[in-house]
Symmetry: C2
Subunit: 305 residues, 2 copies
Amino acid sequence: MMKTSLSEAAPVSGALRWASQQQWIDEALERLLPGEEASPEVIHRAMRYSVLAGGKRIRPLLCLEAARAIQEETPGIEHPACALEMVHTYSLIHDDLPALDNDDLRRGRPTCHKVFGEAMAILAGDALLTLSFELLVRTPGASDSQRVQLVRELTSAGGTLGGMIGGQVLDLEGEGQTPTASLLDGIHRAKTGALLRASIRMGAILAGASESEMGALSRFGEHLGLAFQIVDDILDVEQSSEALGKTAGKDAAQEKITFPAVYGLARSHEMAAEQRHLGRESLKLFGHRAEGLHALADLIVNRTA
Amino acid sequence: MMKTSLSEAAPVSGALRWASQQQWIDEALERLLPGEEASPEVIHRAMRYSVLAGGKRIRPLLCLEAARAIQEETPGIEHPACALEMVHTYSLIHDDLPALDNDDLRRGRPTCHKVFGEAMAILAGDALLTLSFELLVRTPGASDSQRVQLVRELTSAGGTLGGMIGGQVLDLEGEGQTPTASLLDGIHRAKTGALLRASIRMGAILAGASESEMGALSRFGEHLGLAFQIVDDILDVEQSSEALGKTAGKDAAQEKITFPAVYGLARSHEMAAEQRHLGRESLKLFGHRAEGLHALADLIVNRTA
């Protein structure tokens, strides 16, 4: 309802555009997660608690907007979009466990293991990872070749060799080590960069991007991933826990290798702007079709939480 | 080398047949897991430590033998076979964590978290699950349609709705509850039955089974899954930790819902034999092509560890 009226109104202001799309993503997540009444209820409650906690949905938005840079409408796009959010959420649930980052607060609420216990949090993470691959191979309107490509993309981005889990291990190992530029680069490319880049590539795969379009979007993804992480590190220093909805100042406390730790705050701000600029350059090929991606990049770089 | 000489010799005794196939599976696992020298080394060491600990490889063997019931040679079969062993191993690593079953011993060695710490054990499990889907979509010689079917099969068998994680949750919730036949049935069908059934179906998918062949193999898988679990429960009562390579007597100590707890030991033995018989009946369609599956079913029912 809200969606229809918004798409008819022109021009739509940035904030409203995202609110409408986030709502569309939330509705899809709501629909694609098992219901709370399905047995065994407790794990489905835990999964829904963590996924439907109202995150920014940056990965699904990137997936949607990358597809829009290729074509107006991409049927089935909610499947990779939601799979990406589920993989992101599983990684947060496991990262927050006492054995890893030991965090009590996430998206402004108690973390999954605080509410459901550690055993259920471990299993809820496992279940979200499993479900994300199920969504990909059940993407409506996709060819089997596209489904296979989507799974390949997500396994590479989520795995140990340059992917999310590999980055998480480097991050844990890096605690207390001398922060160097090359260590920092390796950690962030893998830990957050790979999944953000995959978000863009997965939207492009389903939309049928050409090789040159895929190349340009991949470059955009790398710059945006770097910009995202620089801003994330800056916010951890500059913002309060209340504003972030998660514990602030943890990086310094845990002696994490971050952009402010390696380059200082002022230079980190400049670097984020540089990556934003390079990202913009990568999208020239798409002209006004990339408006959504440009706006999203601005949102990511200018966010305060 | 050993394989060639064995396949030329006739008749091959049961024990030698399995030793040769297990070796073939171990070599494939060794090859398909990231090397210990790949960065970040520690997680690859943890993954290899747990997978290459010399399990019985029952799921890969079922996958191989199901394919053989359809056709002599199935190229690429090592991919689903190894994916199944990796999913099985990830579930053991997470189950053994202090927050779940809190076990120190597995396959005769200290559990993953005992050697690498809890954080790395959680991430190693996550990584094995991710890698298993990667192997499926990279199965050589398979069509994309088969790859998609393989992923669907594994996500259903591994998920929360009647799959392995769902069974694990029911099992945890069942501790200390009155053991009833229906609760027992629900737990075991999901917790171990689904993945064993999927092992057979995945072999059949890659070998190009017809609908009637798939139906027969699925029924065989259900009976075998039940027989496997009954025997597992019996062994936990009758065997020593040393013989099992894992802590014995844990079911009773944790008040788990098991076949001996519901039906008594004598009736449990009968039930295993009944399921073995029904499994045999399901395979009639295949004649001597199912020799391997018959021998494997005997191995599972007659095992002592």
